[in-house]
């Protein structure tokens, strides 16, 4: 077993035994939901209902019920799509890249982060479908064999690349997530008291017996999937960024977009993980597992990626000036000073200024401050996409076509409703799935838990005194 220095902060607080971990993680699944859960669930299902109403109204009447027009063909729809896809990125980064880098602190948070990824991608996918003029033929961008003649998709189109990127991302993330869940499902299965839950978790756990061979395969699959997911962390948002970067619209046509979008995605993803886990650790009493150390680590990532994003914003301005292109220069001046200046400055404040507060370790380790800043980042990243999409489109080349975009209640309903969809899924997840990868977490109890470290410290003190 890997020996870890006692000086390193423990990853599991309290004198936790293996059994304690099982109890703590299984408790939410096995006990009844508290009133806080029900309250949250009611609110998010109400929002989900609004989503259903808004989407049905759109499908029944036409996209005209949104605020789009001849000049601004995308607005909240694609803003929300990119926002949700970006949010998903933290999960994959945590479970894949941090796994390859053997970062043990990921183990307390990877399960929820991956769940977040799955749900965020589902939310994103709803916007792909609902933004289409004819969603009933929404499968046409898939390269399916068909009876329409020799019709094939247009492989030149970044939207087709999107289809591949998002669907690959979703499937790999789902498999990765599920693989990790199997040993934990088996634990719940073994502890199940009712026939029904026993049957369900038996099916879900795929006959896991915890044998050495099981574990060996588990490790291998995890490694392979981590290897597969790692490029996805970088590629998915790169492809999404190409929706804009390959166009001719000033403010979209930018080579900096792929790295800029990936950094932004990780930035927003970690912010969303913070938002969620700060609530989850409190509501489900998991403070011992999701510790201040975890929060601090994630805040550091937010600080780094936030700074990258800030540099990207400034680079865009510099390049616009340096290029000498009339349209490009105007696009950026218009962002900062045009009719949508408030969106731009909201973005700058939330994404560039607030994360810089994390240079202070006091703030990084303050749960309340972290929560507030994470909300700021979520808002800021939404505005970033809004700024890129709407302010670039609304005033492009030909001034006669310049127009303003005003959202309608339907778009607001679909956006807020998608948050409802996300939280409904997440709340159900928190009640029926183990929110911490307990089987994996148990592997570090000997090396990284507070109890073991104390023991080891005692032991070493002893040996020192002997010496």
């Amino acid at each position: 077993m890997h020996k870890e220095s006692e000086l390193r902060p423990p990853l599991i607080l309290g004198d936790k035994t293996w059994h304690d971990i099982t109890e703590d993680v299984c408790r939410p699944v096995e006990s009844k939901a508290n009133k806080w859960w029900w309250l949250a669930f009611s609110v998010s299902s109400a929002a989900l209902l609004w989503w259903i109403i808004s989407v049905s109204y759109t499908l029944g009447t036409g996209l005209g019920v949104w605020g789009l027009n001849k000049t601004v063909g995308w607005a909240w729809d694609i803003t929300n799509f990119v926002w949700w896809v970006g949010i998903g990125h933290a999960g994959t980064l945590i479970s894949a890249i941090l796994l390859l880098f053997r970062q043990k602190w990921r183990l307390s948070i990877n399960r929820s982060a991956e769940a977040m990824t799955i749900f965020a991608v589902i939310c994103a996918a709803t916007f792909i479908v609902s933004h289409m003029g004819r969603p009933w033929v929404g499968y046409w961008p898939l390269p399916l064999a068909n009876q329409f003649g020799s019709l094939w998709v247009n492989f030149n189109s970044p939207l087709v690349w999107d289809v591949f990127a998002i669907s690959t991302y979703f499937s790999v993330s789902l498999v990765f997530w599920y693989t990790g869940l199997i040993p934990d499902f088996a634990v719940i299965r073994d502890r199940a008291k009712t026939k029904m839950s026993k049957r369900i978790y038996t099916i879900l756990s795929f006959g896991w017996v915890g044998s050495a061979k099981n574990w060996q395969r588990f490790e291998e699959v995890s490694l392979v999937l981590a290897g597969l997911s790692t490029p996805l962390v970088l590629s998915v948002h790169s492809v999404v960024s190409m929706d804009f970067a390959t166009s001719v619209i000033p403010g979209w046509h930018t080579t900096i977009f792929p790295p800029y979008f990936v950094a932004g995605a990780i930035f927003s993803g970690f912010a969303m993980v913070q938002t969620l886990l700060i609530i989850v650790r409190k509501v489900l009493n998991l403070e011992d597992y999701i510790t201040i150390y975890h929060i601090d680590m994630m805040n550091r990532i937010i600080l780094i990626t936030g700074s990258i994003v800030g540099v990207a914003y400034i680079t865009e301005f510099f390049i616009a000036w340096y290029s000498g292109v009339e349209y490009e220069q105007y696009a950026f001046i218009n962002r900062a000073t045009g009719p949508y200046w408030w969106a731009y400055w909201s973005m700058m404040t939330c994404n560039v200024i607030t994360p810089q507060l994390f240079w202070s370790s006091k703030l990084r380790e303050n749960v309340f401050a972290t929560f507030i800043i994470s909300i700021f980042v979520n808002v800021g990243m939404w505005f970033e996409r809004f700024v890129i999409i709407v302010t670039s489109l609304h005033r492009d080349y030909i001034p006669s076509s310049w127009a303003m975009y005003h959202p309608t209640w339907v778009e607001a309903g679909i956006y807020i409703g998608s948050i409802g969809l996300f939280f409904t899924c997440f709340l159900i997840f928190a009640r029926v799935f183990p929110v911490i990868a307990m089987s994996e977490l148990k592997t570090i109890i000997k090396s990284s838990s507070e109890g073991e470290k104390k023991k080891a410290a005692k032991h070493s003190n002893k040996s020192e005194s002997h010496a």
Partner: protein, 1030 residues
């Protein structure tokens, strides 16, 4: 003895067996009891459950069958009419004349339905040009607000009964010595004039009162005072080197705008080695279409216009050695000398016109023209116009007679005075005193609803007719469809009541032509041949004797003393919009949705005022103000309009109809009450208005363009004539991009395609459009023509306000700004504030630019690469195509279009009650072009470069075994253009017009720097002015 027949041998024999069977109704035993017996029923193999099963199945099957979409069968002709072939259009020559606009046209019919109006190139007057109103008039045919039959006392009636009643009443009125008035808009039809004469012969107390909603009586009267000839002369703007217009919008509404636009275009074009162009000076109050095309524009208040004419008169008189007149100070006193000098330099080759209806002002204008020797060259007093013959004095007289109870019957023909008279209330009151009121309106309009009888006229596409627009120029109209309703041509109604011998108007017309017109020529010896040829050509033109000149005998000083005096207060001026004109087609949704060429506002009229004047009034766009002139007070929204004269309010007539139909009722407000009958002529100018802001809720004006300047971008390239003469590429230098190999044109920096190795091969044709911005006057005829040709839906004011108009071609209008990139530094503006300032049009007197923009059919199309499903692709003929059926509606193509020409179907625009326009009812749908798909909800659409017309032209050529000739195929926009500003052709044809134009140094591609390689190009706008001067 009665014969007997037996049904058979049995009856003859009458056996007892036969008798028994005969008494039984049924020969065989019927097992009724057995069936009713319960036992028998229970024995039956069909149980109750089975029955229910069958019933259930049948009901389910029947319901399922009912779910299927109803099948509509298109049934081909059983007996095919000789001239109709399914899918092949027929063209008939005809004439559009509605009392103001005149146009010789070809009517395109498909399967017996007229669906499109095209200009008739055989007419030497309009030469194939049209305008928006003519183009849109085909939709008015399929207007469900038209009456389906005659009405007597608001109830449906029969023609025979109604004729008998009317004839009796007319005879009674005539017998009792009471007057009968035929109130008509200008009549330009010689046969109709004869019918009116017949009518007057039959009823001696009858008289014709010509009343146009917007009168040109001042010109008639002015010419009578000047030359002793009460006529409207003909004008030749193409012969004029200097055009000076005092408030006459001769490109949009004045006298004969289509004809004048055509002539004006000739003078403005710099093609085929022509190195000169006309110099156009406009002196006006509101920014008109003509004014926005002018080389120099001077602003005067409406009440100062007459003084301005006098100022120019004085300067010209000084040059000619005449005496001056005094008419008060005008703002152009300083510039008058320069204007006069320009006119004087172009003596005999200039033209001065005025839009005023004041005969005295017209006398001064005539005097100027006379001194300049323009009569006989640019103005002709012998080839006189019949298009405007309104007689304001007669209208005033009629009003008096009606009030005095001297009028026994009145017939309204193609006129609507209850709507358009300045004092409609007084007119209605006077009308009530007439015992027999007859309207020939096609609908129950404002006047018809006050009448006892409505005898609905045909639509012009259902009518026979002739027009003599100018003396010696004749055109014919012929019906292109059987009358849709039980209507009757107005001329035929009058003919019937006059007791004509002929059975119908067609016979009358033919007889008239045989007697009156046929003898005017000698080329043809048979009337039938002459008639057929005239009908086929649509026109018959003869030479008119006379030099066109006449000696000026008017009293200038007397006229000058009676001119309107400049007023210090606020003036109101009425004008006609390019779309709606005088309002007779207000129920036409195409015209309502045609953006005003200047303001770009649809579906409304408004009080247009100068922004700085609005600041003074503390109002802004959309605020409702109340404008009061005398005892007339009208409320309406404010529009901030640069280039207006200060202290002036311009407002369009033709709006605020109440009885015109669903689309037009209640759109805008009626501004005719601001007009007045002063000194025997209608005046469309009012001085001494007071303005008050109201607390009414703001009215949102829906405009298709909300940004008004070019922001320092080279969108419309411009230069001056003098610069262009020095350098043919003036204002249009090549776009060069810095590269490691030095400055290169964008095509040279392409990664993939080169000229030698293009991205798309175009072996056969390579279509393209060339647009001469010097010839485009911004009139919008192309927009309506495109709507008609391509089934473009009407979306209504609300959607326009959301920037969702569906027009495939738009005309961008830009104003110059006071701030330019060049002068920003001098003004001490930083980059940020510079752009802010550049957004503001120069409020005082900006220059105006028009630019038609449709899909540019890029050969490097940004839209094509981004479509995920390849719904938009490139054809081998250089067209950017849309497959509607394949479109999934991601709108990525529209976002990525640098020209923003793609249009998305946000809703289902056909069969949708939310959009109550022509695509909703069966009648309105008849105007749809069967060659073009009606797009469904959720798909993208855009200009196809009239691919169906290209295909038709190619097939016609193929059938004849040849290549399509240059100019044979024309897009709808090119065909409709009154100035021929749009040229369509094949780049692969080395001798094509479009290639010639492309090679011209003035040609450029819009946004060339992004190298999308459009198939459409533009030509630099040249203004005939000194660099840096007006």
């Amino acid at each position: 003895m009665e014969k007997r027949y037996w049904k058979g041998v049995e009856e003859l024999n009458n056996t007892p067996e036969f008798v028994r069977l005969r008494d039984n109704e049924f020969f065989e035993h019927l097992p009724v009891d057995e069936v009713l017996n319960r036992k028998a029923a229970s024995d039956s193999s069909t149980t109750r459950r089975d029955f229910l099963k069958f019933l259930g199945f049948s009901v389910a099957a029947a319901s399922l069958a009912a779910c299927e979409a109803p099948v509509k069968k298109a049934i081909p002709y059983v007996v095919k009419p000789e001239e109709v072939t399914l899918g092949i259009p027929n063209y008939y020559a005809s004439t559009y004349y509605d009392g103001t606009d005149y146009c010789s046209v070809l009517v395109k019919t498909r399967e017996g339905r007229p669906i499109k109006i095209e200009g008739n190139e055989l007419s030497s007057i309009t030469k194939g040009g049209t305008n928006a109103r003519v183009q849109a008039s085909v939709l008015s045919l399929y207007d469900s607000a038209r009456l389906a039959g005659p009405l007597a006392g608001k109830k449906k009636a029969e023609w025979t009964a109604i004729d008998a009643e009317i004839t009796k009443k007319l005879a009674d009125a005539s017998a009792s010595g009471k007057k009968i008035a035929i109130v008509s808009s200008s009549i330009a039809s010689p046969s109709a004039k004869k019918i009116v004469a017949d009518f007057i012969a039959k009823y001696p107390t009858a008289k014709l009162v010509t009343y146009d909603a917007v009168s040109s009586y001042g010109i008639v009267k002015g010419n009578e005072m000047s030359f002793g000839k009460a006529v409207v002369p003909s004008y030749r703007f193409d012969n004029a080197e200097v055009i000076l217009s005092f408030g006459a919008d001769f490109l949009s509404s004045w006298l004969s705008p289509i004809e004048f636009s055509r002539q004006y275009g000739v003078g403005r074009k710099l093609r085929d080695g022509k190195k000169s162009m006309s110099r156009h000076i406009q002196v006006e109050s509101a920014l008109s279409l003509a004014g926005s095309n002018a080389d120099a524009r001077y602003k005067v208040k409406p009440s100062e216009q007459s003084a301005s004419v006098a100022a120019v008169y004085n300067k010209v008189a000084a040059l000619a050695g005449g005496s001056s007149v005094s008419a008060g100070a005008s703002p152009i006193d300083a510039a008058a000398g320069k204007i006069a000098a320009e006119l004087w330099a172009a003596k005999g080759k200039s033209v001065v016109i005025s839009g005023s209806n004041d005969p005295n002002e017209q006398v001064l204008v005539n005097a100027i023209n006379s001194m300049l020797g323009n009569y006989g060259s640019t103005i002709n007093l012998d080839v006189t116009s019949n298009l405007q013959s309104s007689n304001d004095a007669a209208v005033a007289e009629l009003l008096g007679e009606m009030n005095a109870g001297q009028v026994g019957a009145v017939i309204f023909w193609n006129t609507n005075p209850v709507y358009s008279m300045p004092d409609a209330k007084a007119f209605t009151a006077a009308l009530a005193k007439v015992s027999c009121k007859i309207s020939l309106a096609d609908r129950e309009d404002e006047t018809a609803s006050n009448c006892d009888y409505v005898c609905p006229d045909h639509h012009w596409l259902e009518s026979w007719g002739d027009v003599e627009p100018y003396k010696g120029y004749f055109t014919l109209s012929q019906p292109t469809i059987r009358p849709l309703f039980s209507t009757r041509q107005g001329a035929e109604s009058l003919m019937k009541w006059a007791g004509a011998a002929q059975a119908d108007y067609y016979t009358y017309l033919r007889d008239f032509w045989a007697a009156a017109i046929y003898p005017m020529q000698s080329a043809m010896t048979s009337f039938d041949a002459f008639w057929t040829k005239s009908l086929q050509d649509g026109v018959f033109e003869t030479a008119v004797a006379g030099t066109g000149a006449a000696a000026f005998v008017g009293n200038v000083s007397d006229a000058a003393s009676k001119l309107m005096k400049p007023s210090a207060g606020t003036d109101v001026i009425l004008y006609q919009k390019t779309g709606l004109g005088n309002g007779n087609q207000a129920n036409n949704p195409w015209l309502q949705e045609l953006p005003d060429p200047i303001s770009k506002v649809c579906w409304d009229n408004y009080f247009a005022i100068l922004p700085s004047y609005a600041d003074k009034l503390k109002v802004t766009q959309g605020n409702v103000i109340e404008v009061k002139v005398g005892n007339v007070s009208i409320k309406g929204p404010v529009l901030l309009q640069p280039a207006m004269a200060d202290n002036t309010i311009a407002v369009a007539v033709g709006y605020g109809r109440t009885n015109v139909g669903k689309a037009g009722n209640g759109v805008g407000f009626n501004a005719y009450p601001f007009a007045s009958l002063t000194n025997g002529a209608f005046s469309y100018v009012a001085a001494g208005a007071t303005v008050a802001k109201t607390v009414d809720e703001d009215i949102t004006l829906a405009a298709t363009q909300t940004h008004h300047t070019m922001m320092g971008r080279e969108i419309v390239k411009e230069t001056t004539l003098s610069s262009w003469l020095k350098d043919a590429k003036a204002g249009n230098p090549d776009v060069l991009i810095e590269s490691p190999y030095g400055p290169k044109t964008p095509e040279k920096l392409d990664l993939w395609a080169t000229t030698a190795n293009p991205e798309h091969e175009k072996p056969n044709h390579n279509w393209g459009l060339g647009i001469d911005l010097n010839a485009c006057i911004g009139c919008g005829a192309c927009v309506v023509a495109c709507n008609a040709e391509n089934n473009v839906p009407v979306v209504g004011k609300d959607e326009i306000g959301r920037a969702r108009e569906m027009h495939w071609i738009r005309i961008d209008r830009y104003y110059t700004s006071d701030t330019t990139k060049e002068n920003a530094k001098e003004k001490g503006l930083g980059k940020l504030s510079m752009y802010g300032e550049m957004e503001k049009p120069a409020a005082d007197n900006p220059e105006v630019f028009f630019q038609p923009v449709m899909c540019q059919h890029c050969n490097h199309a940004p839209c094509e690469t981004v479509c995920p499903v390849a719904a938009t692709t490139h054809s081998s003929e250089g067209l950017n195509m849309m497959a509607y059926n394949r479109c999934v509606g991601t709108r990525y193509c529209a976002n990525n279009c640098p020209y923003k020409v793609r249009r998305f179907n946000w809703f289902k625009y056909s069969d949708n009650e939310q959009f109550p326009y022509n695509m909703q009812d069966q009648l309105g749908k008849m105007v749809l072009n069967p060659d073009v798909v009606v797009r469904s909800r959720g798909v993208m659409e855009k200009c196809s470069m009239c691919v169906q017309r290209i295909q038709y032209g190619k097939l016609e050529a193929k059938k004849a075994g040849r290549r399509p000739g240059d100019g044979e195929i024309k897009t709808a926009c090119a065909q409709s253009c009154p100035t021929n500003a749009i040229v369509f052709g094949d780049y692969n044809d080395k001798n094509s017009e479009v290639n010639k134009l492309l090679a011209d140094p003035r040609s450029y591609h819009l946004l060339a720097e992004i190298n999308v390689q459009p198939s459409v190009f533009y030509q630099t706008k040249v203004r005939n002015k000194e660099e840096g001067h007006a």
